[in-house]
C-alpha cells in the first residue's frame, strides 16, 4: 500500500465543481426548476463534508498510524464548542434576557460576570485560534501521556473512549459554564452576516469545500512525506521502527495532534451550519460511527475515508427518514459485514488489482 490510491485528483476536481455549481444552483436557478438545490440540501451537503473532514482526521491516525481513536468526537466537539462560544457572544443583547455580555444560560443560572475562559471569544480571530488550540492541547496532553508510556492497540482505543465519555459527563454539568445539557443554540450571525440568510449558508458551504480540499492536501502531503513513511512503518512494526532509531512517540504524538486539529476545524465548520452544539456530540457512539465511515470507505485511503463519510451519512439520512427502526440494524450489520468481508472497504473493492502485502 505505497502511496495514495488513485482518486485524489478526482476528489479535488469534484470539490471545486461542487463549490462552484452548488451555490449557482442554489442562488441563481429558480426554486421551480428541477435543478434547483434547496438550502436544506445545501446545508445537508455541508454537514456531510464536515464529517468527511473528520473522517480524514481519523483515517490519518488509524489508517496510516494504526492508532484507533474511539474519542475523536471529543476533538470535533471541542472545535465546535469554541465556534459556539464565538457565536454566543455575537448574539449580544438580542438574547431572550437581553444581557449585552452574558449569554442567556448564564443569566438563567444567576451568574453576574463572564467566566475567565469566555474572555476574548467576541473576537473571531481569538475564537478561531481556540478552535485549533483547544483540541490540539487536549490531544497533546493525552497523547503525551499515552504514547510515552506505550499504551497501544485496544487499550489506547478504550482510553480514548473513556476520555470522550469523561468530557461528555463534564460538559453536561451546568457549572462548567458551557450551557449544560442544552449546550449552545439560537445563533444569530457570524462575522456580521446573518446565519439565516441563504448567502451566508452558501459561503459556509464553500468554506467547508475549501477546508476539505485543504485538509485532504495536507493529509496527502503528510502521508507522502518522509515522516509519513515513518508513521506507516510504526503502524506495521512499531518495535522494529523503534529499534531502527526513530522516536516513535514523537511521530505518533505529532500526527495525533494534527489529526485532532483537523477534527476541531471540522467541528467548528459544523456548528454554524447545524445551528446547535451540545454535550451529546461527545457521546462515545459518535466517535465509533466515524470509525465505521472510514472502514466502509477504505481504511488507509484518504479518498475512501471522505467518500465513506458522505455515503454512510447519506444512508443514515435516508434510513432515519424512511425506516427509522431499521437504521441501527443497518449500521450494526455494516460494521460486521465490512470487518468480516471488506477489510479494505469500498476502495478495496474498486481496486481490482490484488496486492500481496495487505495492511492489517
Amino acid at each position: 500500500m505505497e502511496g495514495e490510491a488513485p482518486g485524489g485528483a478526482s476528489l479535488i476536481a469534484l470539490l471545486v465543481v461542487a463549490a462552484i455549481a452548488v451555490p449557482i444552483l442554489n442562488q441563481l436557478v429558480p426554486a421551480s426548476s428541477p435543478l434547483h438545490v434547496s438550502t436544506y440540501l445545501l446545508t445537508l451537503l455541508g454537514k456531510y463534508l464536515c464529517f468527511a473532514i473528520l473522517a480524514l482526521a481519523v483515517d490519518l491516525i488509524w489508517g496510516y498510524g494504526g492508532i484507533l481513536s474511539l474519542g475523536h468526537a471529543a476533538f470535533f466537539a471541542l472545535g465546535g464548542y469554541a465556534m459556539g462560544m464565538y457565536l454566543m457572544r455575537q448574539i449580544g443583547a438580542r438574547g431572550v434576557y437581553g444581557d449585552p455580555v452574558l449569554p442567556d444560560f448564564m443569566v438563567f443560572l444567576n451568574w453576574h460576570t463572564l467566566p475567565w475562559f469566555w474572555q476574548g471569544f467576541n473576537h473571531f480571530a481569538f475564537a478561531a485560534l481556540m478552535m485549533v488550540l483547544a483540541p490540539a492541547l487536549l490531544a497533546l496532553v493525552f497523547g503525551w501521556f499515552a504514547f510515552r508510556s506505550r499504551v497501544t492497540g485496544v487499550y489506547l482505543s478504550i482510553m480514548t473512549q473513556a476520555l470522550s465519555y469523561a468530557m461528555m459527563l463534564a460538559f453536561f454539568r451546568n457549572d462548567m459554564g458551557f450551557g449544560g445539557n442544552n449546550g449552545f443554540t439560537d445563533f444569530k450571525d457570524i462575522l456580521g452576516f446573518d446565519l439565516h440568510q441563504d448567502s451566508t449558508r452558501v459561503a459556509l458551504f464553500v468554506a467547508t469545500c475549501a477546508a476539505l480540499a485543504a485538509g485532504y492536501l495536507a493529509c496527502r502531503a503528510i502521508t507522502r512525506s518522509r515522516a509519513g513513511r515513518v508513521v506507516r512503518a510504526i503502524r506495521d512494526a512499531e518495535s522494529r521502527t523503534r529499534f531502527l532509531g526513530y522516536r516513535v512517540e514523537s511521530y505518533k504524538l505529532w500526527v495525533f495532534v494534527f489529526s485532532a486539529v483537523l477534527a476541531g476545524i471540522a467541528g467548528a465548520l459544523y456548528v454554524p451550519q447545524v445551528g446547535i452544539i451540545n454535550p451529546s456530540e461527545f457521546a462515545p457512539i459518535n466517535s465509533i460511527e466515524v470509525v465505521i465511515w472510514v472502514a466502509v470507505g477504505g481504511r488507509g485511503t484518504l479518498v475512501g475515508a471522505a467518500a465513506g463519510a458522505v455515503l454512510v451519512n447519506y444512508a443514515k439520512t435516508f434510513f432515519t427518514g424512511a425506516f427509522p427502526e431499521v437504521w441501527l440494524y443497518a449500521l450494526g450489520a455494516l460494521f460486521v459485514l465490512v470487518t468480516l468481508f471488506l477489510p479494505r472497504g469500498l476502495m478495496g473493492l474498486m481496486d481490482l488489482v490484488p496486492r500481496s502485502s495487505e495492511a492489517r
Partner: protein
C-alpha cells in the same frame, strides 16, 4: 381551637389506662364495632378521630387491623351499599381490589376500583392513629413489634406516651425494647426540672448516636436571641456538650463504615459487570463491545421469567440466574462461532464487529420490548433494611449484591481452577499450539470460554435488573466502566478484577461527598488514565492470545 385540641388529647389518656392497666375484659360488642366502622365512611376528620378512640375502647380484636388499614389508605367504602372494607395491598395500576371483611377478616370478594371510595385521612389524624396503633403494639407478644412501636412513639413523645412507656418499662422483658424505652424515658426526663435526673438522662442518651437525639441535646446548647443560654443549668450544658461531641464522633465513625459499605456494593456491581469481560477480554484477548448488551439480555431474561411466573416473584430471581446464564451463554457461543472466530488476532476489527453486534442487539430489544423501560419487581426478601445499632442502616439489596458477587466470583474461580474445562481454557490461553498437540479441541474451548464469559454477563444482568432501569441502554452505561475495571485490575487476572472493581467502587463513593457523583466519576476516570501511565507493563501482562496476535 386550643381548647378543642387539648380536650381531644386528654381523651386518649384514659383509654391508655383501659388498655394496659385493667385486666378486666368485657366481651366486645360486634354490633357497636360494626356501627363505628360503618360510620367512618362519611365522618369528618374530627369525627374519625373520635370514632378511632371508640374503636380502641371497644377492645374488639380487629380494631387494630381497621385502624392500620385506615392509616395505610387501605380502608374503602363500597359505593353500592356503603359497606366499609379493608383491601389487600395492590399496586396503583391494578384495576380491582381484593376486599376483606373487617368483622371476620375473611375474604369478601373483590371490586373494581371505581366502585370504591377511599376513606381519607389528614396529617393530624394520621399522627393520632400512629400513636394508637403503637399502643396496641406495645402489648404485642412479639418483641420486634414492641420495638417498632416504641420507636414509632419516640418520634413524637408526649406526656401520655411517656406515662405509657413508664408503665411498660416495669413489665418489659426484652432487653432491646427496654433499651429503647430507656431512651424514651430519658428524652422525657430531659424536659423535667430535676437536675440530677436530667444529668443521668444525658448520660444515657450520649450512648445512642441517633440524629434525633443529637438534635435534642444540641438544642440545649443554643442561645436565646438576647444572648442568654436556653439552658440555665451550667452542669447540664457541659454534660450536653460532651454528649453531643461523643455522638458526633460515633456518627462520623458509622458514616465511614457506611461509605465503605456503599463503596463495596458499587464495587460489587462493577466487578459483576467486569468479571465476564475478564474471561473474554482477559483470558481470550477478545474485545467484546457487546458485553454490555449481553448483560442487558440477562436483565430482560429476568423480566421474561417474572412474566412467566407472576405468582412466585420471590423465586423468580433464583430461576432467572440460571435462565440468564443459558440465554446469554448461547448468544455468546453463537457470536463466537459466527463472527469472532474469523477475527482472532485482529483486536481492532473484533472491537468494531462486536460493536456492530451491540447496535443490533439494542435495536432487537427495542423492536421486541419497545424502547420503554420494563418493570422488574424486587422480591420482598430483597427489600427493606438491616438496622445495625442506632446509626447504621444497610439495605438488603445492596447486601445481597455483595454476597452474590462473592458467590459468582468463587464459582468462576472454581470452574477455572478445578474443572477440566478450566484446565483446557488456561492451557489454550497460555499456549494454543501445545494445547492442541496435547489433544485439546481448541475451537471447542474457544466457544465454551466465550460462552462462559457471556453467561456470566447475563448473570450480572439479573443483578443489575434489581438496581437500575431495565431498558435498551442498560449495557452502554456499564461497558466503559467494565473495561476500566479489567484494565485497572490487570488483564487476565481474576483477583485483579475483584480488587480493581472494589477499589474503584470505594474511591468513587469516597469522592462523591466532596466532588458530587458526576465529577467523582470523571476524577476516577482521569486518575485511571494517569495511573495507567505509571503501570502499563504491570497492568497489561502480555500473556495469552493477546500477545500472540500482536
Amino acid at each position: 381551637m386550643i381548647h378543642r385540641t387539648a380536650r381531644r388529647r386528654w381523651l386518649w389518656l384514659p383509654l391508655a389506662a383501659v388498655l394496659f392497666s385493667s385486666p378486666a375484659f368485657a366481651q366486645p360488642s360486634s354490633e357497636a364495632f360494626l356501627a363505628d366502622v360503618a360510620a367512618l365512611g362519611d365522618a369528618s376528620f374530627a369525627d374519625k378521630e373520635l370514632i378511632a378512640v371508640r374503636l380502641v375502647e371497644s377492645r374488639h380484636a380487629h380494631a387494630r387491623d381497621v385502624l392500620t388499614a385506615l392509616l395505610d389508605d387501605r380502608l374503602y367504602v363500597r359505593a353500592a351499599d356503603k359497606h366499609v372494607f379493608i383491601t389487600r395491598a395492590a399496586d396503583e395500576s391494578a384495576a380491582s381490589l381484593d376486599l376483606v371483611d373487617p368483622l371476620t377478616l375473611g375474604d369478601a370478594g373483590s371490586s373494581p376500583r371505581d366502585g370504591l371510595t377511599k376513606i381519607g385521612t389528614n396529617n393530624r389524624l394520621r399522627k393520632a392513629l400512629r400513636i394508637t396503633v403503637a399502643r396496641f403494639d406495645l402489648a404485642d407478644p412479639h418483641a420486634a413489634v414492641r420495638l417498632a412501636a416504641v420507636s414509632e412513639m419516640l418520634r413524637s413523645l408526649d406526656e401520655s406516651g411517656a406515662a405509657l412507656l413508664r408503665a411498660r418499662a416495669g413489665v418489659e422483658t426484652d432487653s432491646r425494647v427496654n433499651a429503647e424505652i430507656d431512651v424514651g424515658l430519658a428524652l422525657a426526663t430531659l424536659d423535667g426540672t430535676d437536675a440530677r435526673k436530667r444529668l443521668d438522662a444525658i448520660a444515657t442518651l450520649a450512648g445512642r448516636p441517633r440524629q434525633q437525639i443529637r438534635n435534642r441535646l444540641a438544642a440545649l446548647l443554643e442561645k436565646n436571641p438576647d444572648g442568654t443560654d436556653v439552658e440555665a443549668d451550667a452542669a447540664v450544658r457541659t454534660a450536653a456538650a460532651a454528649a453531643v461531641s461523643r455522638i458526633d464522633r460515633a456518627r462520623t465513625l458509622y458514616g465511614g463504615v457506611e461509605t465503605l459499605f456503599f463503596g463495596l456494593s458499587l464495587g460489587s456491581v462493577l466487578v459483576l459487570a467486569a468479571i465476564g469481560l475478564a474471561i473474554t477480554f482477559g483470558v481470550m484477548g477478545v474485545i467484546n463491545m457487546a458485553h454490555g448488551e449481553l448483560m442487558m439480555l440477562g436483565a430482560y431474561t429476568t423480566y421474561v421469567v417474572q412474566l412467566l411466573m407472576p405468582r412466585h416473584i420471590g423465586a423468580s430471581i433464583l430461576v432467572a440466574v440460571p435462565a440468564a446464564f443459558v440465554v446469554t451463554g448461547l448468544a455468546g457461543v453463537l457470536l463466537e462461532r459466527c463472527i469472532i472466530r474469523f477475527l482472532y488476532g485482529r483486536p481492532l476489527e473484533t472491537l468494531l464487529a462486536t460493536f456492530g453486534v451491540s447496535l443490533v442487539l439494542q435495536q432487537l430489544v427495542r423492536s421486541v420490548f419497545t424502547a420503554n423501560n420494563r418493570d422488574v419487581v424486587t422480591p420482598a426478601w430483597m427489600s427493606g433494611t438491616l438496622q445495625l445499632g442506632d446509626a447504621l442502616a444497610i439495605t438488603y439489596n445492596r447486601l445481597y449484591i455483595v454476597i452474590f458477587t462473592m458467590i459468582v466470583f468463587a464459582v468462576l474461580l472454581a470452574v477455572l481452577k478445578r474443572t477440566t474445562l478450566g484446565l483446557e481454557i488456561r492451557a489454550v490461553s497460555q499456549n494454543r499450539a501445545m494445547a492442541r498437540a496435547m489433544g485439546v479441541r481448541s475451537e471447542w474451548v474457544d466457544a465454551m470460554t466465550f460462552g462462559l464469559g457471556s453467561g456470566i454477563a447475563g448473570v450480572a444482568g439479573v443483578a443489575l435488573s434489581q438496581l437500575t432501569n431495565v431498558g435498551p441502554n442498560l449495557g452502554q452505561s456499564y461497558i466503559i466502566d467494565s473495561f476500566m475495571v479489567v484494565v485497572f485490575g490487570g488483564v487476565g487476572n481474576l483477583w485483579g478484577t475483584l480488587i480493581g472493581g472494589m477499589s474503584m467502587g470505594i474511591v468513587n463513593k469516597l469522592l462523591e461527598p466532596y466532588a458530587g457523583a458526576v465529577l467523582g466519576k470523571i476524577l476516577v476516570l482521569v486518575a485511571l488514565i494517569v495511573f495507567i501511565q505509571g503501570r502499563p507493563r504491570g497492568l497489561f501482562p502480555q500473556t495469552g492470545r493477546a500477545a500472540e496476535g500482536q
